[in-house]
């Protein structure tokens, strides 16, 4: 429903009417604490961060302002996350992107960068092992390798969550 409510390439009045009806259902669900409470809180934190870093030079070191499109993409990422996946911490990046971090410990973490396009750069550290890559996020479904990477770090290798 969430994906449907975001619309598509159809242009007829009827397609828009159906999308509007779906949007109302999604908005209603997102007002529910039980259904969306944790994600709503995470998105609220994300927006607060974006607000704090909405000006150039927010770090006193000539960092770019957080790009509103990056905020939009990061919100979409959070909405698309399976409920069983732990929510990330957010951090601003000097180029206007947003870092989403899953930190188990200093030596076990997964981090990905959400910018203004559909490419997600990610990196992970697991003790002495580390790696990085780029995955495509279509705005609807999280890339399988990102889900597996987060599970690997946060569940100590017991990756049981499949991509949606």
């Amino acid at each position: 429903m969430n994906v449907y409510a975001r619309g598509g390439s159809a242009i007829s009045f009827e397609a828009q009417a159906a999308q509007k009806a779906a949007t109302a259902v999604v908005e209603s669900a997102e007002r529910s604490q039980a259904l969306f409470g944790e994600k709503a809180a995470a998105i609220s934190q994300l927006r607060a961060l974006a607000n704090e870093c909405a000006e150039q030079d927010w770090d006193g070191n000539e960092a770019s302002a957080i790009d509103p499109l990056a905020v939009f993409m990061a919100e979409g990422f959070v909405r698309a996350m399976p409920d069983s996946l732990p929510l990330p911490e957010f951090a601003p990046e000097p180029d206007g992107s947003i870092s989403l971090d899953w930190i188990q410990s200093r030596n076990r973490l997964f981090s990905l960068s959400v910018g203004t396009n559909h490419r997600l750069a990610y990196a992970w550290v697991d003790g002495a092992d580390k790696g990085h890559g780029v995955a495509r996020f279509d705005g609807e479904r999280l890339p399988r390798r990102v889900i597996e990477g987060i599970c690997e770090i946060m569940n100590h290798g017991n990756a049981t969550i499949g991509s949606r």
């Binding site: 598509g8 242009i11 009417a17 159906a18 509103p68 499109l69």
Partner: protein
């Protein structure tokens, strides 16, 4: 129900859309394609509409006038026939072919879809295909009696009220998402109402099917095979959603 059985003289299709979602080159700039794409599509699609992402930012500071900034980005070029009943879209994430009513048959549009897809590939140079999606938006006018309609007379699937005697539908939204086990094709079926018009209750039946998988953009036979597979699925969904009485409305 086969495709041939579904040839309805008064089919309720208000829009049919074929989307081909692609991975675009990392440095892809849609805006740079405006002029060359105009030149390529002008003969059949003389009208151009641009679809924008529009963003407005208002900043307020104590003791200062609020500052407003606006940012635009192009999301799609829409090239339309002179009568605006058919269009081709160059999107940041791929290609779309839209046909509005009157609609005849997918067979009639496939040659044009192939032609315009090849133009898109030449212009945008997508890296690979990600998904093929076929979507049919139908609008069905159900007859009412004394302002009420028995939905089960017309819909095989759909909502039911918990108290049929003392409750009357004012509206509903029904969505089913499913996977075809044989092919992996995905279906998203939406049924919803519009406000009643005289003695008719308009129902929107959005029948959307998609096939995920990667292929080379030049591989039209692969795309065509996916389209035909999706067509069979969407026809089966159509036929199995509506009752004979409903189908008779389109004869």
């Amino acid at each position: 129900m086969s495709a041939s059985e579904l040839r309805l003289p008064n089919a309720p299709i208000v829009e049919a859309v074929l989307d081909i979602g692609c991975d675009m080159p990392p440095a892809f700039d849609l805006a740079a394609l405006e002029r060359p794409s105009r030149d390529r599509f002008r003969d059949q699609y003389p009208k151009l509409r641009m679809q924008f992402i529009h963003e407005t930012k208002i900043e307020t500071h104590p003791d200062a006038t609020p500052q407003m900034s606006v940012r635009h980005g192009i999301q799609a070029f829409q090239f339309l026939h002179a009568d605006e009943k058919q269009l081709v879209q160059l999107r940041t994430q791929g290609f779309s072919f839209n046909r509005l009513a009157p609609y005849t048959s997918l067979d009639d549009y496939l040659p044009e879809i192939e032609r315009t897809w090849r133009l898109f590939v030449g212009l945008a140079k997508p890296v690979q295909i990600r998904v093929v999606q076929l979507r049919y938006v139908n609008r069905i006018l159900l007859p009412t009696v004394a302002g009420r309609v028995q939905l089960t007379d017309y819909l095989k699937i759909g909502p039911r009220l918990p108290d049929e005697e003392r409750l009357a539908f004012v509206g509903f939204l029904n969505q089913h998402a499913a996977v075809e086990t044989d092919t992996g094709n995905q279906a998203n079926i939406v049924l919803t109402t519009q406000p009643q018009e005289n003695d008719k209750l308009p129902i929107i039946f959005d029948n959307c099917v998609a096939s995920a998988g990667t292929a080379e953009p030049e591989d039209w036979p692969w795309i065509l095979a996916r389209i035909l597979s999706l067509r069979a699925l969407k026809n089966r969904i159509f036929g199995n959603t509506l009752t004979e009485r409903c189908l008779n409305l389109f004869q």
